[in-house]
Symmetry: C2
Subunit: 228 residues, 2 copies
Amino acid sequence: MSTPPAPADPAYRRLSADARREQLIRAAQGLFAHHAPEDVSPEDVARAAGVSRPLVYRYFPGGKQQLYEAVLLDAAEELEGCFTEPRHGPLPERLARALDRYLAFVEDHAEGFTALLRGGGVAETSRTGAIVDRVRRAAADQIMAHMAVERPGPLLLMAVRTWISAVEAASLTWLDEGRRPGRAELRDWLVDHCSAVLAATARHDPQTAAALAAVGSPGPEGARRGEA
Amino acid sequence: MSTPPAPADPAYRRLSADARREQLIRAAQGLFAHHAPEDVSPEDVARAAGVSRPLVYRYFPGGKQQLYEAVLLDAAEELEGCFTEPRHGPLPERLARALDRYLAFVEDHAEGFTALLRGGGVAETSRTGAIVDRVRRAAADQIMAHMAVERPGPLLLMAVRTWISAVEAASLTWLDEGRRPGRAELRDWLVDHCSAVLAATARHDPQTAAALAAVGSPGPEGARRGEA
């Protein structure tokens, strides 16, 4: 550049190390949200942040992989925040609110979300897999907490884990299929899906039956009527 | 070895190229079924087949990765065979028979199945991912065929895909949790799980409702009674 940057240009402000790191993660986040990891380079991140390539490497010596993991960790925290919901009111309504936040996140990070969960990408390692698993565990823990279950037995554990994997599979199919049906319809279907799986599980598993009875779950029929 | 092998030793018979390839795949299959791919080497395959290491590389110049993909393709065909079921009798009973075969396969290939579906392994590539996706598609196609649906809309597609991912997640949890509950109980729960998800979907989606009505599905309650 022939002229020095104006002091007002935010990319060239003198930032603390933490703030600079944060700025680079934000820039990388925007890129990884809308592109598969293989299509993002540290150069792209430098350009998006309006800084030099060496500056990116100073903060992220591991280059793209380290940036990707930092962005993923950040996204994991954001997602875990989506799941947090006060413990009062009917269970299906709590679930609907958490799903609204989750599906908004999925829409905002469509390409990155798809690339990550489709698997087989170059940026995937056991570390990125562990971050994804952490989010799944956080989601399961939230559901158990809302059902007031401390030590889930194998069938309840399966019911909750399979519903979480169903939510992931549904999100991917939804993005693939042009986001049909609409987000509200998908959310309502996922809530009913959960109620139906828990009700089916309660017929096989006394713990699930007791937990549903204790929280006064209306079951799938009631859940549907309650939302109509 | 100090003495030449007896002519009756099958490992040292002169085999046709096809038979030798098949023999090596069988040996590799046994190893990959019970160990994660990173713990299997072409040397192990040679030892298990009772042949020399160079012979393994003659048939599989790509070494472990090529052996792994050959074994995976073979397993994919075996799994697709598990799903094939005559189209008569109540749907939940057809599903129960297919699941019996599938769960027997999962038990027989526990370690390999877990390593493959957990993701992030060294042997995973876009090719191995494509083989896994082929099996998922074959399972979905079978279900659509049994429901006599030619062009599933987005909600029915999601219902079936999410159930398939639920079966995978349940299988992994089941192996992790010491195979509890028993296989028959898990099968019955998965059948009920499917009926419950389809019944919940029918309330949102006319196509699913029409398909269930046409095949005379008894719904989750009836499915349970039918099996009791």
